[in-house]
Symmetry: C3
Subunit: 277 residues, 3 copies
């Protein structure tokens, strides 16, 4: 795929999400659930969040894609997540995994371990989370790490490229690693996307909502193009929002406004480069 083709795919994905308004439900954490929904709406998706097993199954059969975020697990997730993931697999629907908090608690570890057998189309995380997930699944990462400190990365994006490529190859999908410069890979090509803002680290749910937006685009294009589209949307909108923002409070709202208003060309022309690793 040439760069020109890639940028064309991004433009098409931005437009398709706005036109088709795909239903993209989530099982996601209570901290950032509102921002996830609002970010999905801002880029054209229809959001719906559930907790119960049969609701996860039922909505899997009518949705176009799904988002699973591992923050703030409840006891019922022990049943909801496996049943929902099986329903998604049976229905052939793509889903995005955000392995927030990997390494913390036995339920999270057990659920993430199980997902190896029925993997997502896209994994979105910070560098530490991507390395930890690849290690949990026994992939070759070059870095020893099996958990994270809280929800913030302690590793650089560059140190996670090997883990991201291994993960992407394993899931036959795409992996997006968030950081000062973002990396998206399908296991072969490694794309670096530029822009964004340090203020993203001061707004809770920047990463979670990026995962939710990856799922919106996964409803209208292939996993690799979906992840690249979402990451470029965040970098283009974040960079513009920062110019007007006076702090994290205004940044969050201006960012949503900007995401809603950006043209497909604005997103498709965001600074990025690609290489075969």
């Amino acid at each position: 795929m040439t760069e020109r083709e890639l940028r064309k795919k991004i433009r098409q994905a931005v437009e398709a999400a706005r036109k088709e308004c795909p239903l993209v439900p989530s099982i996601t954490n209570t901290v950032t659930i509102n921002l996830v929904a609002n970010a999905q709406l801002a880029c054209g998706g229809s959001a719906a969040m559930v907790y119960l097993p049969d609701e996860g199954e039922a909505i899997s059969s009518i949705c176009q894609a799904f988002y699973i975020n591992m923050g703030t697990l409840f006891p019922v997730y022990a049943e909801t997540l496996p049943r929902t993931i099986r329903a998604l697999a049976d229905a052939g629907k793509p889903w995005v995994l955000d392995p927030v908090g990997i390494g913390l608690g036995s339920l999270r570890t057990e659920l993430l371990r199980q997902m190896k057998a029925m993997p997502p189309a896209i994994v979105r995380g910070n560098a530490s989370e991507i390395i930890a997930l690849a290690n949990l699944w026994g992939l070759d990462t070059g870095v020893a790490k099996d958990g994270v400190r809280g929800v913030d990365a302690t590793d650089s994006v560059d140190s996670a490229v090997m883990a991201a490529r291994a993960l992407a190859r394993f899931i036959h999908g795409a992996v997006a690693v968030s950081g000062a410069v973002d990396v998206v890979t399908d296991g072969d090509v490694v794309v670096r996307s530029y822009g964004g803002s340090p203020l993203f680290t001061k707004v809770t749910g920047s990463g979670c909502s990026l995962g939710g937006v990856c799922a919106v685009y996964a409803a209208v294009t292939d996993p690799f193009a979906a992840a690249i589209t979402a990451v470029n949307m965040y970098n283009a909108a974040g960079k513009r929002a920062e110019k007007e923002a006076r702090g994290p409070g205004s940044f969050e709202k201006i960012f949503l406004d900007t995401m809603y208003n950006l043209s497909a060309d604005d997103v498709a022309s965001n600074a990025m480069d690609a290489c075969k690793a």
Copy 2:
């Protein structure tokens, strides 16, 4: 009731909520719970949210009205909702039902079915939800429909008028149907309220928070006047907020500011018309 009397009731309700600061607890979904509370505060109410059965019972005895929203059910709701609704009935407190997600999952269907025996004073929903609830309760709606796609309406408000009137007559209360033009009915009179903004559809919880505000006004006036007051508040504030907003992020905040600042006359003079159906 003449139009003049109706507008007087709206003015009084807006003022009474601000003066009396009624306690209006909610059992509501985690996606939009923050906006529900902030919208209730902005129009003068005191908000409090609970999940546990005995908390629902205890707060029912000291509140002035209650809001129940069926989004994001937890397992404990199987016990919390029936016990809370019984406590509200025993105490003679009005409550507002928002049947979000009707048709999705067995618990939601079972709980909504049970409510027929101890119904709310007001039902607030989009057209698809209102039709589905009236059908679930075996009322005459003229439309075959027993569930919805996600949380967004796929039916027009006009197509739900017959269901709304049947529901309102059955509950001896009021039904508010949200859409581009909003309809409120007591089963006899059908009021259409104008204004608002398409940006409401890009802010998660616009509808949920309208339900919460209906409950605030239900604490200070009769159900029909309460629903009309809330709907006109949203339409008047939404129309003004849209003029300044640059997208859904800023719209939400300007809307809350506007709701807080609107005079009772601004709300009472919002464009609406009424007819006997």
Copy 3:
């Protein structure tokens, strides 16, 4: 401690939180969980929220301080809170208690009663909550009160000073009472802090997020200085934010921006006075 020394401690705490970015997890209510996290980020902390027992234990061992807010209890809290509090005690980590809703429901009462044996370093609440907690623990408060109406105070801050002092002495820590004028005491010295804004009462989670910010500062200084720093931060930032705000929607965002931007000197020079009671 002289006033000069106190103001120096405040300055140091503001700077230390920004520099060290301490991990300060929470078990907190779903209504205001997003604002708690964003307020903690705005003043330099790293936020992480959990619900499950073993997650509370695990994160207690790697955090610098912890925040427990009693709003919106879930059934699993019956196990999560005791185990987390024991883990915090074993690890010698300071934690902040916000007894929201005290008096409502049997689980909340039972959990709060248990905490007497393993108390927090700081209690943050409104006047009614502080009086009710001190009474629940059998301390001498001068006021008969064992519960509150919803989540809003019905007592004046002054009427809670005796209860606050008794509580602070009992826990060998600090108590912050929120109101038009805020009081912070270590049981001996009583500090009054001025500023803030009436708009705080129109934004859900103003109090909850203050508790979360107390916990951030408890990670970098002693409990009394931590509570005073947080309260002065809120009063200084709230006062400035009010000048630009047009209502509660814009106030919340400007407040976060201001908290992020205030200098340590701005916080340390906020109006306050102290006396031995």
